[in-house]
Amino acid sequence: MNIDWNKFEMVAIGAIGFTSFMVVVYSFGVRFLTNAQNQEAAAKKGDAKAARSELANRIAAYALFALSAAVLAYGVFIMFETMYTKK
């Protein structure tokens, strides 16, 4: 019996790495969006500093959500491409 342990190692690294990356990116998105939502009221009252901060947080949050969606899509694409090209 010849078990290729490298494959298991790759699965472990891939799964833990990919999961951690996705969750970290999404979590920062959640944090920035929550910051933005909490400054919304002050920004509406005309506080310029709060308005700037709210906009910056919101942009950062949406950028991170978009990044996590793109990474997810790319990850799925890579995996299926590998499966198709595998002999």
């Binding site: 298991f8 799964a15 990919f18 951690s20 969750v23 970290v24 997810l72 595998k86």
Partner: protein, 413 residues
């Protein structure tokens, strides 16, 4: 009609039925946590899972090849009756564990059934144990552990990143915003459903292909026929839509109390572990991976608890899956050995057992109405803008009606 053709047709039929049971047995893998956290309504969740399973089943055939070519040693005469007997063992075990609400592995039930039937027909030497150990047994031991570690790490990270100190909260009124993970769960649970379709949809394709090769319908080096892919994809999607509510309840609330951030971490971990394994053709159990992820996520939250007694029951079921389904498969093979009459008796017995299990399950029915009833602190379901509008319209109409009624009453007075 040729009896050999009838046997192959029976194999295809039971394989598709197995695929259906596999679908509803495993809906929980993707959708138990989003249902438990309120990220998705139960019916919406199973509909999404069904669509993603349908799509996933068409993507790749690496796992199908593991089953159709790697289970038995070269030179072993695999008979369609043998495949039929193996599938009987898998179906019976799947239905029994579904009735008990235990998320056991459909894949291992399938392997167990086939191994049992193979041994009954051709002895121990017929099984390619080396391949089985590498592609089935070792992934079964490692995959849940890997998924649990990934989910644990990811949950910890999610809670650290979104953490706010009590002083900060009191001073600014800022909340943690962790409810927003529910939106992420829409995508992460869809990823799991897609991965499930890729992995489990292919298993049935592999078994049908094995039956077709055994029946001499296609050659051993032929790939998976298109009609096999289509029918297997439809069967698993239909089963998924039927929803295995009993197992959804166990996975969503019985194993650990899951909050949205944990659900997101668990699903991402499950999806990535399954997809990474699929690349290497490991026919791993999506159920075991999903259960491992839920346990990892349960432990990852400070103060979170895992119900170890339930986890113990589940692990016990995992250990019994291979031998129990192998025993049923072997008994079934003994019947099919008799000939066509034995095959018919076998089929009738399997149908009778399936009906009996369904009938008994109706006494304590679990469906989309009561699947979340036992979830402690289940969050309010995230409603779409359309649903919110509809609910508001209905409330306004009811208020208008009540006002009209009271005006009429006032007028009469």
């Amino acid at each position: 009609m040729d009896s050999a053709f009838l046997v192959v047709a029976a194999v295809v039929a039971i394989a598709l039925f197995f695929d259906f049971t596999n679908g509803f047995h495993d809906t929980a893998n993707a959708m138990a946590t989003p249902i438990a956290t309120g990220a998705l309504r139960p019916k919406t969740a199973v509909a999404i899972a069904a669509i993603m399973n349908l799509v996933g089943a068409f993507l790749g055939t690496a796992v199908a090849k593991t089953i159709s070519t790697g289970m038995f040693n070269e030179g072993v005469n695999v008979l369609p009756q043998m495949v039929f007997a193996g599938l009987t063992g898998a179906v019976v075990w799947n239905l029994l564990t579904w009735f008990l609400g235990l998320p056991s592995s459909s894949s291992h039930a399938l392997f167990g059934g086939l191994v049992g039937a193979g041994i009954a027909y051709s002895g121990f030497a017929s099984i390619n144990f080396a391949n089985m150990v590498e592609k089935v047994v070792i992934p079964a031991l490692f995959a849940p552990f890997i998924a649990a570690v990934a989910a644990f790490v990811a949950t910890r990270l999610a809670y650290v990143i979104t953490m706010r100190s009590d002083a900060q909260r009191a001073a600014t009124g800022i909340a943690t915003g962790r409810g927003k993970y529910r939106y992420g769960q829409w995508f992460s649970s869809s990823l799991v459903a897609l991965a499930h379709g890729t992995n489990d949809g292919q298993k049935t394709m592999g078994v049908i292909t094995l039956g077709l090769i055994a029946g001499g319908v296609i050659s051993a080096d032929a790939g998976v026929p298109l009609w096999v892919m289509v029918s297997a994809a439809i069967a698993i999607a239909a089963g998924t839509y039927a929803g295995g509510w009993r197992i959804i309840r166990t996975m969503g609330s019985g194993l650990a109390e899951i909050k949205p951030a944990q659900g997101f971490a668990a699903e991402t971990s499950t999806g990535s572990a399954i997809l990474a394994s699929s690349i290497f053709g490991f026919a791993l159990s999506t159920t075991q991976v999903a259960s491992g992820s839920v346990i990892g996520a349960g432990l990852g939250r400070r103060g979170g608890a895992v119900r170890w007694s339930k986890a113990g029951q589940i692990v016990l079921a995992w250990f019994f899956t291979l031998p129990a389904s192998a025993l049923v498969g072997a008994a079934s093979a003994w019947l099919t050995h008799i000939g066509t009459v034995g095959l018919i008796i076998d089929g009738v017995l399997m149908i009778a057992v399936s009906i009996a299990i369904f009938q008994v399950s109706r006494r304590n029915k679990v469906n989309h109405h009561n699947v979340r009833s036992e979830v402690e602190g289940a969050a309010k379901t995230v409603a779409s803008p359309r649903q919110v509008r509809k609910e508001a319209e209905a409330a306004a109409a009811a208020a208008k009606k009540a006002a009209k009624k009271s005006t009429k009453k006032g007028g009469k007075k």
